[in-house]
């Protein structure tokens, strides 16, 4: 039988039956500890992600410069 978590002693067997019959297995909070398998990024994907990361960092510097220029 599925177990009840510590601190969940008020959960009855009716509750358990209700949960197991109405939720999909992946919806159970306890099963979310299982990680989804890792996916390795391909070359073009890495390029796009790194490009946008550099774009973001650069633009943040631009924003800071804009703020500095406006305040002076």
């Amino acid at each position: 039988m599925p177990s009840k978590d510590k601190g969940h002693s008020s959960i009855t067997s009716t509750d358990q039956e209700l949960v197991l019959s109405s939720l999909e297995p992946e919806q159970l909070a306890g099963l979310k500890k299982h990680l989804i398998p890792r996916r390795h990024l391909k070359g073009p994907e890495r390029f796009v992600i790194w490009s946008l990361r550099i774009y973001l960092l650069f633009m943040i510097v631009v924003v800071f410069y804009q703020v500095w220029a406006s305040l002076h």
Partner: protein
């Protein structure tokens, strides 16, 4: 063959001993039972009943994004440019938001995982932490601006800043005190619809409907291309599409318990939210357009100053409604953005993260939520802080942070191992690519205007 619940788990390769039933599961199961019952019903109102049960995350995310700085951006737009290009432009930005948010709803329904959790699991902690840093900084800055809006809006009624911030924190605590997702969602929905208060304010200004119709059809008059115009354009985009929305809607979809059967109505929820939010945004621009007509400068206006400036035109009652609208926008968003941060935190550190959690089981979740809001509120009370500029800049930063966030969303929504047959169709990928390109170009143009103002002036024909 009708398998029992335990057999179904075993069939899915789940060890029964691994299954731990929590209060969170029980509450969600009760919600799902009502959805199943509504789905099984036949009759004229059964579809409405089902829609009523399933709407929530989409409307909340869209009306939540009509937050304090967004409404101030729309008000600044109306006051600076009047009725013209920006009316259809704002509707276009909400169409972009629908494209993006539909993907998060689909991801949440198909995987039952939050956005932060999926990025960490699928792409590893390196990219996961990058996304979390973007989200954390963006959310914190935005939260500060929510408290600025609340302070400004309540300031119209003479409420001192400390009392305004205090009341917002009390509201936040009351909003999550129910420890039940369903009750929280319905309560916040009722309050969020108050965002439409800007519609009567717009009507009180007796707008020229011919000009409004002309603007929607022709996108004219066009604003001149200048750095100020560009900041308003970016602020209006940032008022509609921001990273916290991706994380919030996906986590709320999971917390609500939506499944693949609910995707169609989840789309309706998202479109409905966008329609309501776009109506409020357009109404705000129309409401402040008289300030443009009367050549009133609104460069340093916060929410309360807009209300005060409008008072001679729409009376004390109309101005009070405007100020209340700004307060409501800040209050609702302070709740949704704090919750978005707490969801992401819980997903990343694998701690319980649900609004169905009792405090004892969700100490980390509720602590993050409250501490973030309290710190942001305290910053707003620092005397002499340049609050006005922060509000517009936060929306600009949100636009800049959006393309990297969208690429991860795009990859996840097209990941067949995660999504199965629910991967994005070609048309959705085309639209999502257009959104990424549009946002990136808008950011680049802003960069050019700051770094090379002469080149920018040349591009603008000056």
């Amino acid at each position: 063959m009708n398998l029992g619940p335990l057999s179904r788990l075993t069939q899915r390769g789940v060890n029964q001993q691994d299954v731990v039933i929590t209060h969170e599961d029980v509450d969600r199961a009760h919600d799902r039972v009502r959805v199943s019952a509504a789905r099984a019903q036949r009759g004229p109102f059964s579809k409405f009943r089902l829609l009523w049960l399933l709407v929530g995350p989409g409307i909340l995310v869209m009306l939540g994004e009509n937050d304090g700085p967004s409404m101030i951006s729309y008000a600044a737009t109306g006051a600076r440019f009047g009725i013209g290009f920006f009316l259809p432009f704002v509707v276009l930005t909400f169409c972009m938001a629908i494209v993006v948010q539909e993907m998060t709803m689909r991801l949440g329904s198909a995987t039952h995982r939050g956005h932060a959790e999926l990025i960490f699991d699928r792409f590893g902690p390196f990219w996961g932490w990058f996304s979390m840093i973007d989200l954390g900084i963006g959310n914190f800055l935005t939260l500060i601006t929510e408290f600025i809006a609340i302070r400004a809006g309540l300031g119209f009624f003479g409420v001192p800043p400390w009392a305004a911030v205090g009341s917002a924190l009390v509201f936040l605590c009351l909003a999550v005190a129910m420890h039940r997702y369903w009750t929280w969602e319905r309560t916040l929905l009722a309050i969020a619809v108050f965002n439409l208060i800007f519609v009567p304010v717009a009507l009180l200004t007796h707008p020229n409907w011919h000009s409004v119709g002309h603007a929607f059809i022709t996108w004219k008059p066009l604003p001149g291309l200048s750095q100020d115009t560009l900041i308003i354009i970016l602020a209006d985009i940032g008022a509609t599409v921001t990273p916290w929305m991706l994380f919030f809607q996906q986590s709320a979809t999971v917390d609500k318990g939506l499944t693949t059967k609910d995707i169609h109505l989840g789309r309706i929820d998202t479109v409905l939210g966008a329609a309501l939010a776009a109506t409020a945004a357009v109404a705000t621009i129309i409401a402040t357009a008289p300030l443009f007509v009367h050549h009133m400068t609104a460069e340093n206006f916060q929410g309360a100053e807009f209300a005060q400036a409008l008072q001679p035109l729409i009376g004390r009652f109309g101005a009070a409604l405007f100020a209340l609208g700004i307060v409501e926008a800040g209050m609702v968003a302070s709740v949704t953005i704090s919750i978005s941060s707490a969801y992401a935190f819980g997903e990343v550190v694998h701690r319980p993260h649900s609004l169905n959690l009792p405090v004892a089981q969700g100490k980390a979740f509720y602590s993050v939520l409250f501490l973030l809001a309290a710190t942001a509120g305290a910053i707003v009370l620092i005397p002499g802080l340049p609050l006005v500029y922060v509000v517009l800049l936060v929306n600009v930063v949100a636009v800049l942070a959006m393309p990297p966030a969208l690429v991860f969303l795009f990859m996840l929504a097209n990941d067949r191992e995660v999504m199965g047959d629910l991967v994005s169709p070609l048309w959705a990928n085309f639209l999502a690519t257009c959104v990424v390109v549009f946002l990136t170009l808008a950011g680049v143009l802003f960069g050019v205007s700051v770094i090379a103002p002469n080149l920018f002036a040349f591009l603008g024909g000056k």
